[in-house]
């Protein structure tokens, strides 16, 4: 029993030694990493459905050319809120939830290092998103300037609700930073004896690096929204040319946060997939050390590539060349990772359960997204692709089969450990194939639309884009509705089903499989010995 848990138990009258308290207070006051992990995952799935509903509104409007369903102003609010909710509400909290559940189990720790801060960092999130979503009902509507909230669209021209949006971003940032500090402290201080850094599972490694990225860039995001706040309400001119400011500065500061942010959303998925592929290939992960170094290299490079998002603002050629080559350099460590995943599968005795299907799709489709990223990195070509649907296709290919499939794979892989029951494999495979087909149907045609010149963030489009848009919408409806099946599978699994063994996957390795399924409320009160 660690000192931290002791302190906690004295400070509350509840007796946590014999399992969770009853009722609502269990969830409100819990400091248990498993409870908090579960809450993070449920919260992120709720946000995923909410952001997904907004995506459905967008795709319904784009089903045909012309304005059918929503006003352009509301359409802009939908694209903005969809992006913000998916990035900050769905993907990031899902990974924090996985970290909460799995990192202590994987390194043999009794809990997270800072359990009460853990509780706090979760409960800030519902408040932050309630604030963000409430802007939809304010006069002037929700933020409508895109999730990148470029000044002066978001300062001079933003709706009155922008100030609420800024506070919501502040709260999300504080939550993420606290989560990151907790992860770092847990990994650095609570590893079981013998668990050296280079013996840690890759999911733990990728999260450690992600946590450092969060600490490095979330404060910069907080800074940029604070500057916006001051420009809007206190008469400063950070981004206002009339007062000597510069709107382009906004883009530099934003993307200094924004580019590491996209790695924050993908690195934990890299880690999860690096756990799952060896388990279902029944081989050790190929090139463990190179995987660790590759993640470190990606994280470091992410700080020197931000301006590739803004090649068209009018940069000197030297700047464009620098950011172009640095961006392309990221393909090298990423290529190492893809090679290692494929080499792990090579000549393995593979089986194709749902986690493995999602992981293989992850490797293939993320690579496609990486290639379109390389195309966008070419500065002279980017002038053609900039702000078109090609960009939309690119980042949905890295985020949907990247981050989201990584989360699905993790969920199926560890569900037996969380619930003690096996999920319904047939339904899970149906979920996979429907998601796989729907996702490709939705996003692949967007490449063609973008290359043909369809701009992003528009509610109406020229007639020649009609067919691809209809295909895309059908795919999006398919992908969206399939996620209700996922909800059903998870609920069904939580309520019962075939009992799971402590180690339900015969090829799986790691400390999390040494505890019974479902994992008891308190695990590793005595640290395990790692050889």
């Amino acid at each position: 029993m660690s000192a931290v848990i002791d302190t906690h138990d004295h400070s509350h009258d509840q007796d946590h030694h014999h399992g969770p308290a009853k009722g609502f207070k269990r969830w409100l006051l819990t400091t248990n990493h498993k409870d908090i992990g579960t809450m993070y995952l449920i919260f992120s799935f709720t946000m995923f459905l909410l952001g997904g509903t907004m995506a459905m509104v967008i795709r319904a409007e784009l089903f045909q050319p012309g304005l059918q369903i929503v006003e352009p102003a509301f359409f802009n609010q939908m694209t903005t809120m969809h992006g913000l909710i998916m990035v900050f509400g769905a993907v990031m909290p899902a990974f924090v939830g996985l970290a909460n559940w799995m990192i202590p189990l994987m390194i043999g720790a009794p809990d997270m290092a800072l359990p009460r801060m853990n509780n706090w960092s979760f409960w800030i999130l519902p408040a932050a998103f309630a604030l963000l979503v409430s802007t939809l009902f304010m006069s002037g509507g929700a933020p409508n300037f895109g999730w990148t909230f470029y000044a002066p669209l978001s300062t001079t021209y933003g709706p009155p609700s922008t100030t609420f949006f800024i506070f919501a971003i502040h709260m999300m940032g504080i939550s993420s930073i606290m989560g990151a500090i907790n992860v770092i402290a847990t990994i650095l201080n609570l590893r079981a004896p013998g668990m050296t850094l280079m013996k840690m599972p890759l999911f733990v490694w990728t999260w450690l690096i992600t946590a450092f990225l969060l600490i490095a860039v979330m404060p910069v995001l907080a800074g940029v929204v604070t500057m916006m706040l001051m420009d809007i309400n206190f008469g400063t001119s950070f981004f206002n040319a009339a007062g000597g400011g510069d709107p382009v500065l906004f883009q530099h500061v934003f993307w200094f946060f924004g580019h590491p942010e996209v790695y924050i959303m993908i690195l934990p998925a890299f880690g999860a997939v690096s756990e799952i592929i060896p388990a279902f290939s029944r081989k050790r992960l190929f090139g463990y050390a190179s995987m660790v170094y590759a993640v470190g290299a990606i994280a470091l490079l992410s700080f020197v590539v931000w301006a590739h998002h803004m090649f068209t603002v009018g940069m000197p050629v030297a700047g464009e060349i620098f950011f172009m080559y640095c961006t392309m350099l990221i393909a090298v460590p990423t290529g190492v990772k893809v090679f290692n995943w494929v080499a792990t599968m090579f000549r393995g005795s593979m089986t194709f359960e749902a986690p493995m299907l999602f992981s293989i799709a992850f490797v293939i489709l993320f690579t496609i997204g990486g290639f379109s990223g390389l195309m966008l990195a070419i500065a002279p070509a980017d002038f053609q692709y900039h702000d078109t649907y090609f960009v939309v296709a690119h980042f949905h290919y890295v985020l949907v089969p990247g981050a989201i499939f990584g989360i699905f794979a993790s969920a199926y892989y560890w569900l037996p450990k969380w619930t003690g029951n096996m999920y319904d494999e047939t339904l899970a495979k149906t979920h996979f194939w429907m998601s796989f087909i729907g996702m490709n149907l939705a996003f692949f045609p967007m490449h063609f639309l973008g290359l043909a010149g369809m701009p992003r963030r528009i509610p109406d489009y020229a007639l020649q884009f009609a067919d691809f848009n209809m295909v895309s919408s059908i795919g999006a409806f398919m992908f969206g509705s399939t996620q209700l099946l996922f909800l059903f599978i998870v609920v069904k699994c939580a309520r019962g089903g075939e009992k799971a063994a402590a180690k339900p996957w015969d090829g799986a390795e790691g400390l999390e499989w040494t505890v019974p399924s479902p994992a008891p409320y308190h695990t590793f009160s005595t640290p395990p010995e790692v050889k």
Binding site: I177, L188, S237
Partner: protein, 197 residues
């Protein structure tokens, strides 16, 4: 156990220091960006008063066309235009041009002109020894003013640049940062200005 707790404090301390450091770094990017732009000229902002020597011989073998654009920011009702829209100069010679501003409203107003030069590669070679943009302009109701601009195009202007376009946007200092309430009216004013120019 106590060791673990102490090192938690240490790790958290370092992390929080990192967080505050990066928050400060975000704000430090503002002056860093301005310094970087001053050195490289990439954001098109021309510098302050030129203190360099003006005695250098003009390069009579070469001509550069300098174009002038004047436009109004949001809410700006003044008439604002260059007296001449373009002028051909020799690098090294000092040239005097004027911009005309008139306050058409019935009240006194203060305005600030913000310059921008294209192409940005020329910014470091465009020197202003005298410019109305160095100060704010205050005009009484109906008052009109001829505003001076004295500039020198540097002899070292890169060979491939033949034309420089200098644009001024005039902002109402009391209402900067406000969204134009009547976007249509603003765009009509802008069009009229361009025609005048």
């Amino acid at each position: 156990m106590t060791t673990a707790k102490r090192s938690n404090t240490k790790v958290v301390g370092w992390c929080i220091a990192g967080v505050f450091g990066m928050f400060a770094f975000g704000f430090a990017l503002v002056p860093l960006y301005n310094v970087f732009c001053d050195i490289t000229g990439i954001n098109g902002k021309t510098g302050g008063r030129y203190e360099g020597t003006t005695t250098a011989e003009a390069d009579m073998s070469r001509t550069v066309k300098v174009q002038f654009i004047a436009q109004n920011g949001p809410h700006m009702p003044w008439t604002f235009r260059p007296a001449q829209t373009s002028i051909t100069v020799h690098p090294g010679e000092s040239t005097h041009v004027t911009f005309v501003a008139q306050n058409n409203t019935g009240r006194g107003m203060t305005a600030q002109a913000v310059p921008s030069l294209a192409p940005s590669e020329g910014v470091l070679f465009f020197h202003k020894t005298e410019c109305f943009c160095f100060n704010q302009q205050t005009l009484a109701a109906g008052e009109s003013i001829d505003m001076p601009l004295v500039f020198i195009v540097d002899r070292d202007l890169p060979e491939e640049i033949h034309t420089l376009t200098l644009s001024y946007t005039l902002y109402d200092q009391e209402r900067m940062g406000e969204e134009p309430k009547d976007a249509k009216q603003v765009s009509t004013t802008t069009t009229k200005m361009t025609n005048n120019g």
